[in-house]
């Protein structure tokens, strides 16, 4: 744990550019090879969960990119897509480096969108909690079941079923639901004061020497 990073939180962000979301993410100790396959995969899935949460999510992500001043990294739909398809699970997977700067941009987008959706995310998770307490199937609540269904559809249409891990998920709705809920929990953390930094650091757990 020698690579400890202290976070300075700028408390004069009010009225400033929202670029602090990006700037608040510390540089992880990864080299020039950029993010690992696992990091690429986790970031793209997080954005996939956001798409299952709201319609028109990718448009909103592009608008958010402008708002937080990362248009130089994510210029347009193609740009966003070409970063996301570094996820090795995708049907349209592209082998390319995902630079730390690019990963930060994607995670900042997730942070931006989750903050807007804080209430929805909490409602869904509280619904899940209630259903689990009562021993009811998690799909018996309308909004939750809608989110899960949309996530499964997105996952199945975008991820390559010939990848063994994807096939394992596709084979079982329950596994995909658990994945969708796990991602929802991650999005909840993105809404917090320093939650985005926590999530960001967690993307590099087990990826450094």
């Amino acid at each position: 744990m020698s690579n400890s990073v202290s976070l300075m939180v700028n408390d004069s962000v009010q009225g400033q550019q929202k670029s602090y979301l990006v700037n608040s993410l510390p540089d992880p100790p990864v080299g020039e090879k950029g993010c690992s396959l696992r990091t690429k995969q986790r970031i793209d899935l997080l954005l996939l969960a956001l798409e299952a949460l709201e319609l028109g999510a990718s448009e909103k992500m592009l608008a958010a990119a402008k708002e937080i001043g990362i248009q130089d990294v994510i210029k347009h739909r193609v740009g966003l897509w070409s970063l996301r398809r570094t996820n090795p699970w995708r049907r349209s997977h592209a082998r390319r480096i995902l630079k730390v700067k690019e990963a930060k941009a994607l995670v900042a987008l997730a942070g931006m969108r989750s903050r807007e959706l804080t209430l929805d995310i909490r409602k869904l998770l509280l619904a899940e909690q209630k259903l689990r307490e009562k021993g009811l199937p998690i799909e018996s609540e309308f909004h939750l079941s809608e989110y899960l269904e949309r996530f499964r559809a997105h996952f199945r249409s975008r991820m390559n079923p010939r990848r063994a891990r994807v096939a394992a998920y596709n084979a079982n709705d329950q596994d995909l639901n658990e994945l969708a809920l796990f991602l929802l929990n991650q999005l909840l953390f993105c809404t917090g004061t320093a939650g985005l930094q926590r999530l960001w650091m967690s993307l590099f757990d087990g990826e450094v020497a």
Binding site: G79, R96, S157, G206
Partner: protein, 477 residues
């Protein structure tokens, strides 16, 4: 000295601190709030939970450190030792059998100086409660008028703590039952019958198309200027009918592979060996995890796709999770199953070296396929290749050592094939224009076989860190 009370209220969690005001700090000028600099008592309550956690400064320090570590462990699925201190800490976390539950253990302080009880009081938290606790802590940490010496320290844990990579959902499964059945599922996925029908997400098709992030209606997408990219940007790409077919079951696959003919041609084998090595080398990330050599017999198709693998030489069934094999293996469909296959011996050594060799060896010396040998053509192509590469090489080099490649060029100057000849080249090939420029299909590579069908001129190409480019024919002019 005045005592002062600070409260951080979240829907499910309340963090209350009582302490002394630092009389020396100039408080009123900056924010009007005095600085709480010495903690007397910290209290942590959860809505609907009777147990109220409390203690002094060391309790609060433990709470912050352990909750931080546990939150990160929860987010990444990678074990954090700090989240589970063995003794002396007022706070620790335990895994539960339920995905949405986290057991927080509190060891109340005893009368003795700095001592804590040996018996813990347990509080079961939901993930939302855990989040609210983390958020209360983060609000405290960013409040520079309360214990300003506290800071948020985050760092990723080392590869050593990374467990075998299992699907995230299953990581949340019950600790005992879950892990057992999961290990089996992950290790023997070939033996698990794959579903006969993958439920087509028809009901959502329209919506999904709306949301599909592949750009539609963009004839010439800005920012991407290579043919390959434009081709794959086609949204139809994701509807490749082949990929929608039902993958074969393990039994069907085993029968079909047993009947398949082994590729004997040395050149073809060497191209497959290179492709297999490339895939595994790029996919093998956790090299420190292996403490003994892991050996596999791996079957690949004519296109280089990994079809199946089995452990050999005493390698255990479940150990494939320490290798990139499960991630890279493609389950073929009956339509995509190749007529001919090649078996390779693959060794992931405990000193991080990857070895790939044909199972049945080479019957003769492999070649690079048909070659252009005419010296006038070689001279012309040498100049053309240099010009193309120097023009396209726009990135400032970030590598420290020279990258050496073999590059195969068609008679018309098209780059059809390239191969890293040293480790820096394998690591940084994406920093060169080669991946964007290469058009393997132009030489018939990948059309049934990876061996080029058209003759290629073979060049040595060196990209140097000082941005110098060198091109020379492999066998001289």
């Amino acid at each position: 000295m005045n005592t002062i009370r600070r409260q951080y209220n979240l829907p499910n969690c309340q963090l209350i601190l009582e302490g002394l005001v630092d009389a020396n700090a100039d408080s009123s000028q900056v924010s009007g709030r005095p600085v709480l600099s010495t903690l007397i008592n910290a209290e942590c309550r959860f809505t609907g939970v009777e147990t109220v956690l409390n203690g002094g400064r060391s309790f609060l320090d433990n709470l912050i450190a352990v909750v931080s570590a546990y939150a990160q462990e929860f987010l990444s699925g990678v074990y954090h030792t700090e989240a589970h201190p063995e003794e002396g800490s007022a706070i620790a976390f335990e895994k539960t059998n339920v995905p949405d539950r986290h057991r927080l253990l509190w060891y109340p302080e005893t009368g003795a100086q700095g001592g804590v009880a040996t018996e813990a009081k347990a509080v079961e938290l939901t993930t939302v409660q855990l989040y609210d606790l983390v958020e209360a802590i983060d609000q405290l940490l960013t409040d520079n008028r309360t214990l300003p010496d506290l800071t948020l320290d985050l760092a990723p844990v080392s590869r050593r703590y990374r467990q075998a990579d299992v699907p995230m959902a299953q990581r949340l499964a019950p600790a005992v039952v879950g892990l057992g059945s999961l290990a089996i599922a992950a290790g023997l996925f070939y033996l698990t019958p794959t579903p006969q029908e993958i439920e087509p997400p028809q009901a959502r098709v329209e919506e999904v198309r709306d949301e599909e992030d592949s750009p539609e209606g963009l004839e010439s997408p800005p920012g991407t200027d290579t043919d390959t990219d434009i081709e794959s940007l086609d949204p139809e790409d994701s509807e490749d009918p082949e990929t929608d077919e039902t993958p074969l079951s393990s039994a069907e696959l085993a029968t079909l592979l047993a009947d398949a003919t082994q590729i004997g041609d040395a050149t073809e084998l060497s191209y497959l060996e290179r492709e297999l090595y490339r895939q595994l080398d790029r996919g093998w990330e956790d090299r420190n995890e292996i403490n003994r050599d892991l050996e596999y017999r791996v079957a690949v198709g004519q296109d280089g796709a990994i079809l199946s693998y089995e452990p050999i030489a005493g390698t255990s069934e479940g150990s494939d999770r320490q290798t990139p094999l499960p991630e890279l293996a493609f389950i073929p469909t009956s339509a995509s199953l190749p007529e001919e296959i090649a078996d390779f011996r693959v060794v992931f050594t405990d000193n991080s070296v990857l070895q790939v060799s044909p199972w049945f060896g080479y019957a003769e010396n492999p070649t690079l396929g048909p070659e252009i040998e005419d010296s006038a053509t070689l001279r012309r192509l040498n100049d053309e290749l240099y010009d193309t590469l120097i023009e396209e090489w726009t990135e400032t080099p970030i590598f420290q050592r020279a990258l050496r490649f073999r590059v195969g060029v068609l008679e018309d100057g098209t780059i059809a094939d390239y191969q890293a000849e040293n480790q820096p080249a394998a690591d940084f090939f994406e920093e060169t224009p080669l991946p964007d420029l290469a058009e393997p299909e132009a030489a018939g590579i990948g059309d049934g076989s990876l061996v080029p069908k058209e003759p290629l001129a073979q060049f040595d190409v060196v990209f140097r860190p000082n941005k110098v480019l060198e091109v020379s024919p492999q066998r001289g002019f």
